[in-house]
């Protein structure tokens, strides 16, 4: 008799994987929990900001992460000062800094101003990226939300994706000349591909069980897209956004090397002719800084838009 009653009370073993699949976020955030025991130490740290909980560890960490880059710059300066490498080939950090300041303060005939060039490059980037992003998201929606759309759009995008982006430059020059248009198109194309692929995959990977729950709640097609599909696709779409920004910056740098008469790429090609590696380094640093800033912006966006994922940590 006792054996009989034992049987049906068993909780089903099959529920565990279901649970795990239902909540993809907790496994990603959970590993930081075990570090909690370290927290009592933190008040002794210098530079400790007043914000509670999660962010403070990141910030303390950020300072620690500055140590090695600063050390490299110092070493670079020491090597240059000691005369171990020629200042022509590798100008020391101090020289690069002075060059940067003079590029900003003087409007030289050879280079123009640094900020002017930066604006030209930024504008190319902004236009190209906006065009690429709008096209990518539109196409991903078309392909993601209907079978017909998928059959129409996805094969073309998969073909585009396999084309070597920079191999298209000669063709673009023939088609679009050497003005702004081929540059903008190259950036747009570079930005569009990863964003499309990720947004499409994000839409298609939305949890079918949530979609079923939505149907059981009687959601209309529009409500389904708005409440279930788009928010479900957002995490991966944002990953795609970061990737596409990276590719777009790269496309800008490459596009600007080709027949530019303004912009950061123009400064670099001028500096190459005058053997001014210090100027080249300044321009490269500006590219890097712009890339970092846009990446930080997307991460900020992620933090706002995906607040529901950090729910576990902030409680």
């Amino acid at each position: 008799m006792p054996r009989i009653t034992d049987v049906p009370v068993l909780p089903p073993a099959s529920t565990a994987p279901d649970q795990a699949a239902e909540h993809p976020a907790p496994p990603a955030t959970a590993p930081s929990r075990p570090q909690q025991p370290n927290r009592p130490k933190q008040p002794q740290r210098p530079n400790r900001p007043q914000r509670p909980k999660q962010p403070e560890r990141h910030r303390g960490h950020a300072w620690a992460r500055l140590v090695s880059p600063v050390a490299v710059v110092l070493l670079w300066q020491l090597v240059s000062s000691a005369g171990l490498v020629s200042a022509q080939k590798l100008p020391p950090p101090v020289t690069v800094w002075r060059t940067a300041v003079s590029l900003v303060t003087t409007d030289s005939p050879a280079y123009g101003t640094l900020q002017g060039a930066m604006l030209v490059s930024l504008q190319r980037m902004a236009i190209g990226f906006a065009v690429g992003a709008v096209a990518a998201i539109g196409l991903a929606l078309v392909a993601g939300l209907s079978r017909v759309g998928e059959d129409a759009v996805d094969p073309l995008m998969q073909i585009l994706r396999t084309l070597p982006l920079f191999g298209l430059i000669p063709v673009f020059i023939v088609w679009f000349g050497i003005g702004e248009l081929p540059k903008v198109i190259l950036i747009a194309l570079g930005a569009a591909i990863p964003l499309y692929l990720n947004t499409f995959a994000g839409i298609r990977s939305v949890d079918a069980r949530l979609a079923e729950a939505g149907r059981a709640l009687g959601l209309s097609r529009t409500e389904m897209i708005r409440h279930v599909i788009l928010p479900g696709a957002l995490p991966q779409a944002l990953t795609g956004l970061r990737q596409s920004l990276g590719v777009a910056w790269l496309a800008l740098v490459v596009a600007e090397q080709v027949n530019a008469n303004a912009g950061l790429g123009f400064i670099i090609s001028q500096a190459t002719q005058f053997l001014r590696n210090d100027v080249i380094l300044v321009a490269l640093a500006v590219y890097a800084a712009l890339g970092l800033i846009t990446d930080a912006l997307v991460r900020l966006l992620e933090r706002k838009a995906l607040a529901w994922r950090r729910g576990l940590l902030s409680q």
């Binding site: 009653t5 529920t15 729950a213």
Partner: protein, 244 residues
Amino acid sequence: MAPRTPLPVAAQATAARGLVREFDGRRVLDGLDLDIAPGEFVALLGVSGTGKSTLLRALAGLDRQVTGTIDVPDRIAVAFQEPRLLPWRTVLANIALGLRTREPETAARSALAEVGLTERAQAWPLTLSGGEAQRAALARALVREPGLLLLDEPFSALDALTRMAMHRLVLRLWQRHQPAVLLVTHDVDEALVLADRVLVLAGGRITFSAPVDLPRDRDRDRDHPALIELRHELLRQLGVSQEG
């Protein structure tokens, strides 16, 4: 309290006739008939893979490949084994989702109060415990004032203590709102504690049906001879008992 047989065949009764559903040539539902009276609490038992969830999805209108006739109340609500709350909407927004009433948020708030989750209204679902999430899912189902409430093993992922609390909550809500309930479960004791009538699904049909004629505080009364006898019979029907 529980409305029992016989009830007049009202518009809000649930009736399914000759349901057939095949998966890859395998008949999971094979000419199944089922009746649920308005306000009746029915538990459906069956071993794994007998098509309990298939039947529930058919009644919920989530399966378009099922054939046969189905008459169900206008408003149906489902609570699944997993809470299936949208993680990117607050608990309150989840409850109000798709509500066509005039003030969905007010209705959602009172539903949350009923399941004791008023304070978690603005929380993200991922911050809820398993029991809280399942209570929210119940609130989301009940706020629709369904004529038929379909429960697909909603307690099976919960720990034993939470499950007992959930049983009491479900009974209280059922007595207040009076929906017909179809509870799919593979837990015989759960079925006996909650239901007016227990069914066994086997071979694609309802093969066993018996009323549970006992007062409602049955979890305190597990050793009642009638319950023991019925439990025995159900286990035999499910092919678990040694005497079977």
